[in-house]
């Protein structure tokens, strides 16, 4: 999936990770990662990294050490027909350097397991619970992987593409069933 042309950014110069010490550290920790960067209109930078699943934990730890110390977001996307089916997307911020980093990691549908990053960012706790609750992605090493938004006794993971809207009948009090 290519990035659409963006009104808020300028054309980035040809990229080499060697120009950027922070991204170089990422590339060293995750050799399989595809890293890119572009400039935001006001001088900040937007970095992106697509990492293989087995290098995900190391990449996040390296990002923290490189200066991306603020955890902003973790979410999952279900691409359904694509392989790998799921993608985990995390957003980190390096406030002092005015950079944002988006790390994406693919997670196959048959084996929806990824490393938990709660050891690096304590704030990933609720976000990983949400991704488990809504997408059924298992985070190994998470201290308390329970439902967070859905009721505790809920079956299934509603934000998956094969869980359709309206598949669970709503129980209206005292309603008669149609014959």
């Amino acid at each position: 999936m290519e990035h659409a042309p963006d009104a808020d950014e300028e054309a980035a110069a040809p990229y080499s990770p060697m120009d950027e010490p922070m991204l170089e550290a990422l590339a060293a920790a995750a050799p399989g990662a595809e890293i890119s960067t572009r400039r935001h209109v006001a001088g900040g930078r937007l970095d992106e990294a697509t990492v293989p699943r087995d290098e995900y934990g190391a990449c996040v730890a390296a990002a923290y050490d490189a200066g991306y110390t603020t955890f902003a977001d973790l979410c999952a996307v279900d691409y359904y027909s694509r392989d790998p089916r799921f993608e985990i997307v995390i957003q980190l911020i390096a406030m002092d350097q005015r950079r944002r980093l988006e790390i994406r990691v693919g997670v196959p549908g048959q084996d929806p397991v990824a490393a938990s990053i709660t050891g690096v960012f304590a704030g990933a706790n609720f976000y990983e619970r949400e991704a488990w609750d809504l997408f059924g992605i298992d985070f190994t090493g998470h201290p308390d992987l329970t439902r967070i938004l859905m009721p505790d006794e809920w079956d299934g993971h509603p934000l998956r593409k094969d869980a359709s809207v309206g598949s669970v009948p709503v129980q209206f009090k005292g309603a008669h069933k149609p014959a």
Binding site: M1, A4, A7, T69, T70, V77, V89, F121, A122
Partner: protein, 477 residues
């Protein structure tokens, strides 16, 4: 999904006529709370049964040594630590629930508290009571309808939600927004910050016993809401900022209304400061209470006024500006102590700075279109529909099918009154989003509540919770 417990099993009507066999006699579980209590006191009941009857439910506090909130706190000095005498024994700890129905939780938030006499030892926020699946709903709505959905997430700053969604869609579309539309967006979002902070100071006062503060805060906020109503037709959930621009131009005489707001609201702010800033009761309950350190803010993703009160100089309007907000002069207030009082100072100053931006927008409002002229996104004017078949087709297509957005993904963040509001939008090239994730500031703030509340007094919980300004619609979505 047919085996889910939410299914209606059997015919309810028939059930009422012919009760099943087992409901005739008293079921073993049907004993009253009073009986459970008596058995507990007498010690006659098996422990297992009592444990079941007094169960906390599926959500439980974690074992003490693996609670990540405490792991972060370990080794750092927290100035709101309440020094409790050492002789309090383990047996005096009890777990109580605050909420989900509690007037000071600003919605339906449940806090599982482990208390030791008057001290909070551990806290677990339990959320989801207001979850309505808005991210799933967003996948079924076109981009034209999407703003109607997202505006209901954070109902105290609806313009920011709409703006964030619209900016994300516009980035994928790659369209330019006319300067007047951008200025209107800045005007409305900054006034929204004012109304949100006014509501916050009102409820913060009310939660800490200053009920008159609530009345004053509501008084000035009402004026801002009246302006919103004049512009959008609604007091909340406006659906005014839309992909491509805004829904309508500002009404005639809007300058006078904004002028009167700029006159009245600062006077109100002066009154609040007179009421609260040096009020000894307020100081006692706010200074040194609910402290969060800058490192903890970073680890937990806490942004906005809470982070700025802890000494983090970070505002997305300065760092990653959007909608042309970088052309206006304003300061970002930063305080150092990270307690309830500093959050109060930061929000009061932010309100003034937002009014300063509004003043500049009022003076420099450019003329021109209030939405893009791109016919793929913007419906044709009503007059054209009578004259042109093409216009009619365009209009019909836009409101039945919606417009298609090129394949791609984007993360767009704006500075909402509560912090970083981000939306991650994935488009598969169709007229509906493939995925819309909202990164909401309240979600991160509620997650960090254990950090602020652990080892503080029961009485400080309400003050701390109010100072994080959570909107539960924003947390649960």
């Amino acid at each position: 999904m047919s085996d889910t417990p939410h299914n209606v099993e059997g015919d309810l009507h028939a059930l009422a006529v012919d009760p099943p066999e087992e409901s005739a006699g008293p079921a073993p579980d049907a004993q009253s709370r009073r009986q459970v209590h008596d058995m507990w006191v007498a010690g006659t009941e098996e422990q297992a049964w009592i444990a079941e009857a007094t169960d906390e439910g599926a959500q439980e506090l974690l074992p003490r040594d693996i609670d990540p909130a405490l792991a972060v706190q370990r080794g750092v000095v927290v100035s709101d630590d309440y020094e409790v005498a050492e002789q309090v024994v383990e047996d005096e700890r009890q777990i109580i629930n605050m909420g989900p129905q509690h007037p000071s939780t600003h919605g339906v938030l449940r806090l599982q508290l482990e208390i030791e006499s008057e001290t909070i030892r551990r806290v677990k926020p339990i959320i989801g009571y207001l979850h309505t699946g808005m991210e799933k709903t967003a996948e079924t709505l076109t981009y034209t309808q999407g703003a109607t959905n997202v505006t209901r997430m954070d109902y105290l700053s609806p313009f920011h939600n709409e703006l964030c969604f619209s900016l994300a869609v516009e980035q994928l579309l790659g369209i330019e927004i006319p300067p007047r539309a951008q200025a209107i967006r800045v005007l409305m979002t900054e006034l929204n910050r004012v109304s949100s902070h006014l509501l916050w100071v009102a409820t913060q006062g009310m939660d800490m016993g200053a009920v008159s503060m609530m009345l004053y805060g509501w008084r000035e906020r009402e004026l801002v809401l009246q302006f919103f109503e004049a512009v959008t037709g609604l007091r909340m959930n406006h659906n005014y900022v839309r992909p491509g621009g805004v829904a309508a131009d500002l009404p005639d005489g809007w300058e006078d209304q904004v002028e009167s707001l700029l006159d009245v609201v600062p006077k109100g702010l002066g009154e609040y400061e007179e009421l609260l800033s040096e009020n000894p009761i307020f100081l006692d309950r706010a200074v040194g209470v609910g402290v969060i350190l800058p490192e903890e803010c970073r680890a937990y993703g806490v942004t906005g006024p809470i982070a700025r009160a802890s000494g983090i100089d970070w505002d997305l309007r300065k760092a990653f500006p959007y909608s042309g907000i970088d052309q206006y002069d304003f300061d970002v207030p930063v305080e150092q102590n990270g307690d309830v009082y500093d959050r109060y100072l930061v929000r009061m100053e932010e309100t003034k700075q937002s009014l300063r931006i509004v003043r500049q927008v009022l003076e420099t409002m450019p003329a021109g279109d209030y939405r893009t002229v791109d016919r793929k996104v913007t419906p044709p004017p009503r007059k054209r529909i009578d004259e042109s078949m093409e216009a009619l087709i365009h209009h019909f297509k836009l409101f039945t099918e919606g417009f298609k957005v090129p394949e791609g993904r984007v993360y767009q963040a704006v500075e909402s009154p509560r912090g970083e509001l981000g939306m991650y939008l994935v488009s598969s090239g169709g007229p509906r989003p493939w995925r819309l994730h909202a990164r909401t500031p309240s979600f991160a703030a509620v997650q960090a509540l254990p950090v602020m509340m652990t080892d503080s007094l029961v009485a400080d919980i309400v003050a701390t919770l109010a100072s994080t300004d959570p909107v539960l619609g924003d947390v649960d979505r």
